[in-house]
Symmetry: C2
Subunit: 268 residues, 2 copies
Amino acid sequence: MLDAAKQLNYVPNLAARSLVKQKSGLIGILINRAENEGFWRQFRYSQFINRLEQLLSGYGYHVVLFGLDAASPKLDIISERKLDGVFVVDVKTENFHLISSHFSVGVPLIVVDSIIDDALFYKVNYDYLDAFETMQATTSVQYEYVIIDNFNNKELLEHIAFASKLGPDSIHIMQNDQALELFLRKHEHKKGIILNEFAAISAAKYVDPANLTVICSAGCPEILPLSAGRFTFGDRKPEAAFQLMLQLLDNSMKGPDSSYIHVKADNN
Amino acid sequence: MLDAAKQLNYVPNLAARSLVKQKSGLIGILINRAENEGFWRQFRYSQFINRLEQLLSGYGYHVVLFGLDAASPKLDIISERKLDGVFVVDVKTENFHLISSHFSVGVPLIVVDSIIDDALFYKVNYDYLDAFETMQATTSVQYEYVIIDNFNNKELLEHIAFASKLGPDSIHIMQNDQALELFLRKHEHKKGIILNEFAAISAAKYVDPANLTVICSAGCPEILPLSAGRFTFGDRKPEAAFQLMLQLLDNSMKGPDSSYIHVKADNN
DNA sequence: TTGAAAGCGCTAACAC
DNA sequence: GTGTTAGCGCTTTCAA
């Protein structure tokens, strides 16, 4: 009677449960944020985070969102909250040793949009090699420059530059609108590739978007000017990251053989 | 000696601390998500969430991000995780009784972008009355239509419609691109107001953005076409929401007299 | 000052 | 099966 009523609106205290089960039921999404970052950086992971949260919630996990100071990331949250798994997005290579020291061994840690030569940690990146090859193969257009989104991870930047097969003078790394405009003025009326829909929006202020082909890494091709070319990755990255996390969570860290997951593009 | 070493890399277990202190140190940001929502809805709260997370983290709280099914929101997270405070964004009025039942009295609950006639809960909204008035006062342009972002909260929609002082035929609520195009075709070459930068991006596909004045409620005027007019709110909403939360958290629910906070625009 | 002990709300392990 | 108990890692209280 009283028991039934108690049962009816009984709510378990997950902090107490965490304590005894040694599992918090919390997954962290840690994302590097720069001080005065351009608007195109602020939105590029929104879709990824939203979708990932949706997937994790559907599986019973709760998501802790935490912004990291790219210069000196505070990672105590991982051990303090006993996070069951962690996604770290857009990591500076030189900060990575900090991360590895701040998490108990055995906690799945997935690094997104970063190349880190440590097989302990799984990486989820877009397959840029495949993307650039497919782009060249399916079109007769000769691209003469590429604009790369400004990732914190230097290795990833270099990898994308390499994948583009273009020379240093034809490559621009997003910094700010002024530098972007300057670069675009030098390449007016030429065809170019640009990473990230939001970066493309910036570029479209200075050149005819018809000359741009956008590699849609932010999951939002709808935002592009109609005349811009586009190359999309669909929903694949959050899905891939989620599946990988599940695998690591279930099979106690026995993940795929390679510590790199390369997310391929749609059949564009 | 051993003690010192232990001290050195001692990490408190916040779940245990929560249990005894009866405070989780967690703040929830609960945000309604529709099934197939247009892209302009997916990004409009990114800036708000990011900034709010930054402010709360700076104050020592951790943020739990949780997507709500607008149709039947699962709110157990509030009581299960013993959230110290909750932001609920974009709430359907008819779901609100669910919310009030799912949270223990005494937990600060701040509703964002919603009008709810319950003085128990604090509301943070942009001051649309002031915005429309200022816009009319500082320009000689005669606006002939307004496009309103599709909020879940019907009362807010009605309030904005009222604030615009335009008739039903001149008001369009964002639904999808087709309906938007149709509406815009009927008002070609006229001057109009549109809420939300991302909605404006959609509209700019169909009309000359020079005819649009955008009420920048997503904190991202940079994304707009250069020719579009703009009316900005700056960073004020996350700041206001944060300050209000602090007040409620510190003074044990003794907040401002009015349960409504109206965030004014910049000096545009 | 320093130390021991109780207890937060749960689960798991053990007894009955 | 059903009931009891120990203990997860902390903070707080009360004793020495």
